[in-house]
Every structure is written in C-alpha cells, then in structure tokens.
C-alpha cells in the first residue's frame, strides 16, 4: 500500500488528541501551552497534507494558512508565558489547579 492522505490525517488526529490530552490534564500552565502547541501542529500537519493531496491553487492557500497559524502560535505563546510570569509573581505558583481564587 502507499502512504496516502489518510495516513497523515490519522497521524494528525492522534497528535491532536495527545495535544488535547496534555492541555486538559497538565497541572502546569506551561505544560498546557505545550499541549496547545501540539494541537496547533496537528492542525498544520493536516493542512499541509491536504495541500499536498489537492490541486495546486488550493495547495497554496492552505500552506499560507499554515504560515499564519505558526505565527499566531508564536504570539500566543509569548503572551501566555508573560501571563504565567505575572501569575507567578502574584501567587508564587503557575499550576492551574491552585490558581482558583475565581470560582463559584
């Protein structure tokens, strides 16, 4: 058999799942961010796969999409880390199950 679109999609799906699991289950804020990054990469992988297995003009726009996603991901991480820093200054912790002043 040949490696086709489905392989990449499955791979992306699994990667997305793992990323989601990390994001949903990690105590540490940075850990959650890592999970998010994985999810984004999964999306990118999916997109690139699509671009490979589709006509040229589409291929292009999808790849552009990927570029944007990567950029945005970087921005998000930057802000996220900054925030984590602020939280740490206030609370001496960045584990999300202890930053629960706001509840109820």
């Amino acid at each position: 058999m040949t490696i086709g679109l489905e392989h990449y999609l499955v791979l992306g799906a699994i990667l997305f799942a793992i990323g989601l699991f990390i994001a949903l289950s990690k105590k540490n804020a940075v850990g959650v961010l890592i999970g998010v990054e994985l999810m984004l990469n999964a999306v990118n992988l999916t997109l690139v796969a699509f671009s490979r297995f589709s006509p040229a003009e589409i291929a292009l726009s999808t790849q552009v999409f990927v570029v944007f996603i990567i950029a945005v991901a970087a921005a998000e991480v930057a802000v996220g880390l900054a925030l984590a820093l602020v939280v740490y200054r206030n609370r001496q912790t960045i584990s999300v199950d202890r930053t629960t002043l706001l509840k109820g």
């Binding site: 994001a23 199950d97 930053t99 629960t100 002043l101 509840k103």
Partner: protein, 671 residues
C-alpha cells in the same frame, strides 16, 4: 287607584329611613367633630336642636306610616270593590342583560291589599309603641332607621310583581331583621343571634334562589302572574304549557320545593326554626313587628303568592302540610316549657305560622292568609304586652314576675285579650281563622287535622301558664337594669307603661277582637281569591263539630293548666317540677329537641369549621402554596450547588468545551 300611590306607599318609609339614617350619622359625627355643631343665631338654634334631636328619627317615620296606612286602607276598599281582582299595571324595566330583562313593578290584588294594610298598620302601632319603649336608648335613631328600612322592604316584598324583585326585598327584610336582632350588638348573645338568624334564613333562601334561576332558565320569565297561570293551567303529559311558556312536571315540583325551602327558612319552620327563639335578643317591638307579625309571615305570603305552584305538585303540598303540622305541635310543646315570656311567644309564633303552612298545604289558601292577618294583630299585641311588662320589670323571665295584673291593669287586660284570641276562644279573631284552617284540614287531610287540633289545645295551655306566671300570684321582684342600659330604675315597684305604649296595646286588642268578623259571608276569602289566576267567590265555612271540639279542647287545656299552676305547691309535693309534667320530657323539650345542638354545634362548628374548612385551609397553605415555595426553594438550592461546578480550574472549562462539542457531534451523527 293609580300606580303612583303604591310607589308613594313604598317610598314614604324609605324617606323616613333616609332622615333617620342622617340623624343617626349626625349623632356620630357630632361626637367626632365638635366643629360639626356650631351655634346658630338665636331664632335658628331651637330649630337646629330639633333637627338634631332624636325625634327627627321617629316622628317622620310615624307620619309616613300613618299616611301609608291610610293609603293602604283606601286601596283595600278599592280592592274590595274589585273583589280582589288584580289591577292592570305595567312594569318598569330596571335593566337588561342579553335575554334577561329585570323589571320593577307592583302587583295589586286582594292579597297584596290585605298585606299592605297589615304591614303598615302593625308597623305604625309598633313605631308609636317604640317611641315609648326605646325612649332614652342611645341607639334610638339607629333603631328607627332600621325599622323604617324594614318596613320599606316588607312593603316592597308584598308589592313585588316578579320573583326577582320579590327575592331582592326578601333578602332586604332578612338584612333588616339581622340589623334589628343585633341592635344591641354589645351583647354577644345578640350579635350571635343576629348572625345565626341571617345565615339560617339564607340557607332557606338558597332554595328560593335556586328555584328562581331554575324557573328562569326553563321558562325565561320571572313574572309571578305568568308562572302562576302556567301552574294553574295544569300539566299534560308531564309538561306544563301555557301561552308560550313550557316547563316539565319535575322542574315545577323542584321550583315549588325551592320556594318551600325559602318559606321554611323565613317562617322558622322545622328544621330551620332554630333561629327564631334566639332572635328574641332584639328589642321587643322588633319581635312584635318583624318576628311575629310581618317578616316571618313572609314565608306564608310567598307560598300563598305561589299557591298554584305549590298545588301543581302533590309532593310539594303534602310536604309543606306535614312540615306545618309537625312544627305546629312540636313548637307548641316547646312553648309549654319556656320560662322566658318572649320565648314562649316565639315558639307560639312558630306554631301559629306552622298552622298557616299546613293550611296552605291542605289547600286552605284563604284560611292561611286570614290567619296570617289575625295572627299578625294578636301576636303583635302579645309581644308588645310582654315588652310593656319588661319595661317595668327589666326582665323577660316569668319566674321573676307575677301578680302584675294589679300593677299594670291595661297591659294585663290587653294581654288577656290577645291570649284568648290566640287560644282560639269564641268570638275572638283567632277563633275564626283557626277554625277555618281546621275545617280545611278536616276536609283534606285527617292526620294533619289531628296534629293541628292537639296544637290548638296546647296553645291554650301554654298561654294560660304564661299568663298565670306573669300576672297572677305574688310579685317576685323583677331584675335590676343591666349597667349602661336604660330601664326601670326601681323594678321592685312595677308600674303601668306610658301612654305611648299602652295606646297601641288598646288599639291592637280591639282589632284582635273584631278582625275575625271579616270572614262572615266569605267576604275576606273572596278578596283573597281574587289574587289567584282563577278567582272565585269564597264562602264562610262553619262546622259545629269542629267549633265545639276545638273550643272545648282549648277550655279544658287552659283550665287544666290554670289549676295546675294554681296548686303548684301541691303538685310539687307529688314530686313533679311546677313548670312541666315529666322531667325527662322537660329536659328533652328545654333542649329544644337537641336540634340546636345538632345543627349549630355538630354540623356547623365541628364538621364544617373544624373539619372541612380546616383541612381545606391546610391543603391550600401546605400543598397549593407549598408546591410553589418548595419549587422556589429548590431552585435556590440548585443555584447554590450549581456554583460548585464552576470550580475555578482551567481544565474544567476546557473539558466542558470538549465534552459539549463532542456530544453535539455524536448526537448529530447518530440522529
């Protein structure tokens, strides 16, 4: 006679009511606002005082009643001229609602004319009497206001030409009776008695109300004449049908029964008689006018009015005949054991009304009305007499009286006449009317006749007993006037009442003597028959047998009672209490056959109030309202607990996002 006259008759007392009412209000306002009562320049001041004085309440009423009485007499004469046939008088539309048209109109025929005379006459005398009796009472003006209102309503009742109007005034007399019984509302007994009277009669009125809406929904009319014609016309194949109106036999019977219920309530017949004795809490003139002469007779009047209806169904006529007979006897027995003179008279009233009732039942229409009239006079007389006695002894308890015949001769004599008349002694009015009834009963219903005869005998007995205890023997000192109420300051020396009170007594006793003679030649009957759809000349009944029998019985019973009372000490030495024959029977009787206890205590208080009402109220509070409150509180609990779902974790939010999304997708894919 022009119709206007009758409206005048109706509105004269109403005007008096307005004046008396204003004067009563004025009395209260004066106390409230001193500024209300300024000084006037010299000449006006006496006039102002007059206007503010109590006489503004009574005098106009007496004048109004005098005029009304005169008009009523004139009308009666006219009516005699017409042999009691109804005048042709159209009705005035009061209001309409859809098909319903409510009229205001008067029906003038023999029956009405007689009633008019009776009502205005007795009322007039009673008012005159009251000026003396109520003199100095704080509520003097209120009293006459109520009296005026009562007279108005009573006149309206007898004038009404349609059932709705009749019912309206019927309720109004009930109201005034309520107000008058509770006149001395500071006495708990009076307040309670008033309420009891209103409610018990209203229980009967429900029947009348039902009858009214029934007849309307079936025939679409409320005209008394129309209904009577329909009934008179008779039923073919279970349907009454007459010029366009139709109604089934059953409905007609039900209608009759409803009317009977109303009459039974109003006229205090078994089993709704329990209110009348208590009603004696009211001022005595009230008892004389309202609770013996007129209002209680309204029940009889109603049945007389609808005589054809009652006789359109044997069920109804038999029922009322037996109720009447039974009540006549039972009430007479109860009268025998009372120690309160007014209560004696009250039960006697019940018994006499019962006479009229069974007279109606056995078809003695004219006889009933005749007895109604005579009874009105002599029973009013008796009540006023008892009032006169009370006026000087401050009590109604016969055990505290005695020997008054010397101190109060006029009262004694008039009371004596009233008694003889009531006992049916020849040739007083009571004799004629009672004999009429007994003859009717003998002709139509032997069983009723027997009961009636016994009752007649007992009547003589209890009256003689009352007379003896009151006027014979030695005086037993009366009673001190209750604090805060006016009365004879020195009851130990009884004295004759003022002329304002004795005059009516004399007049009434005269009437009580002679009014019986109207029956000669059946004249009276003729007028009254004129009121029926098929008028026919009345005739004068005479039966030696019944004459002798009843008279003898009365004399024997009376004599026995007299001897009994006279030699009370010896009788007591036989081990029997003076006031009765057999102790057990006495207890049974003094407890009013336990009917009061049953009706008031058991049914009303325990069963309804303590049972049904309590459970319903609990249900309403705990269930109907409870559900709401519990739902409410439940919502708040949900809100309080729900908040902990929001536990502040980032992942809680994220998980709910993922879960929500996936659930949606699965749902979409599956369905």
């Amino acid at each position: 006679m022009p119709e206007t006259i009758f409206w005048v008759i109706l509105f004269l007392p109403l005007t008096a009511f307005a004046l008396a009412g204003l004067s009563a209000l004025n009395q209260n306002l004066q106390r409230q606002l001193p500024a209300w009562n300024p000084r006037y320049p010299g000449a006006l001041q006496p006039l102002a005082d007059q206007l503010r004085g109590p006489r503004l309440a009574s005098t106009p009423l007496i004048i109004a009643l005098a005029v009304a009485f005169a008009l009523a007499l004139i009308n009666l004469i006219d009516s005699i001229g017409l042999r009691g046939l109804p005048l042709e008088i159209g009705a005035h539309q009061l209001f309409t609602a859809g098909d319903l048209t409510v009229n205001l109109g008067v029906r003038i025929d023999g029956l009405t004319s007689v009633m008019l005379v009776v009502v205005t006459g007795v009322s007039l005398l009673v008012q005159i009497y009251s000026t003396g009796y109520m003199d100095g009472d704080h509520g003097y003006r209120r009293y006459f206001a109520f009296m005026a209102l009562f007279t108005t309503s009573m006149l309206g009742l007898v004038l009404a030409d349609n059932l709705l109007m009749l019912f309206a005034f019927w309720e109004l007399v009930g109201l005034t009776s309520y107000l008058l019984i509770g006149f001395w509302f500071h006495r708990p007994a009076a307040a309670a008695a008033a309420k009891k009277a209103f409610l018990v009669t209203r229980l009967g009125d429900l029947g009348m109300l039902a009858a009214m809406i029934l007849i309307y929904s079936r025939t679409g009319t409320l005209e008394i004449a129309a209904i009577n014609e329909l009934a008179e016309h008779g039923a073919e194949a279970g349907m009454f049908a007459f010029n366009g109106l139709m109604i089934g036999q059953t409905a007609m019977t039900l209608f009759g029964l409803g009317l009977i219920a109303g009459a039974v309530g109003k006229s205090a017949q078994f089993p709704l008689h329990i209110w009348l004795p208590d009603a004696m809490e009211g001022p005595t003139p009230v008892s004389a006018l309202v609770h013996s002469a007129t209002m209680v007779a309204a029940g009889v009047y109603l049945l007389a009015r609808f005589f054809p209806v009652i006789h359109a169904s044997s069920t109804a006529s038999d029922l009322i005949a037996w109720i009447g007979a039974g009540t006549a006897l039972g009430a007479a027995i109860l009268a025998l054991v009372q120690v309160d003179i007014k209560r004696v008279l009250a039960y006697s009233t019940i018994s006499q009304l019962a006479y009229m009732m069974f007279a109606i039942g056995v078809g003695g229409y004219a006889a009933a009305v005749f007895h109604l009239m005579t009874h009105a006079f002599f029973k009013a007389l008796l009540f006023l007499g008892s009032g006169s006695v009370n006026h000087s002894t401050n009590t109604f308890d016969m055990r505290k009286m005695g020997g008054l015949r010397l101190a109060m001769p006029i009262t004694f004599l008039t009371f004596m006449l009233g008694t003889l008349s009531l006992a049916g002694i020849f040739p007083l009015s009571g004799f004629w009317s009672k004999d009429e009834i007994l003859i009717e009963a003998w002709d139509h219903n032997k069983g009723v006749f027997v009961l009636g005869l016994l009752a007649a005998g007992l009547t003589a007995a209890y009256m003689v007993r009352a007379i003896y205890m009151t006027f014979f023997g030695e005086y037993r000192g009366g009673e001190e006037a209750a604090p805060g109420e006016h009365g004879n300051p020195d009851p130990s020396h009884p004295h004759e009442s003022p002329r304002s009170m004795t005059t009516p007594l004399i007049i009434l006793s005269v009437i009580a003597f002679i009014s019986g003679f109207l029956t000669f030649g059946g004249e009276f009957q003729t007028w009254v028959y004129g009121a029926l759809p098929e008028p026919h000349a009345g005739k004068f009944h005479w039966s030696w047998g019944i004459f002798l029998g009843s008279t003898a019985l009365a004399l024997v019973a009376g004599g026995a009672a007299f001897m009994f009372m006279h030699h009370r000490d010896r009788v007591r030495s036989w081990g029997i209490d003076g006031s009765s024959t057999i102790p057990a029977a006495q207890r049974f009787a003094t407890n009013l056959f336990y009917l009061d206890a049953l009706g008031e205590n058991l049914l009303a208080r325990r069963l309804f109030y303590g049972g049904i009402a309590r459970v319903t109220a609990w249900f309403d509070a705990a269930v109907v309202d409870g559900i709401v409150n519990h739902a409410w509180r439940g919502g708040l609990t949900v809100a309080s607990t729900a908040r902990f779902v929001q536990n502040g974790w980032v992942q809680a939010g994220a998980i709910s996002i993922g879960l929500g999304g996936m659930i949606i997708w699965i749902a979409v894919v599956l369905f």
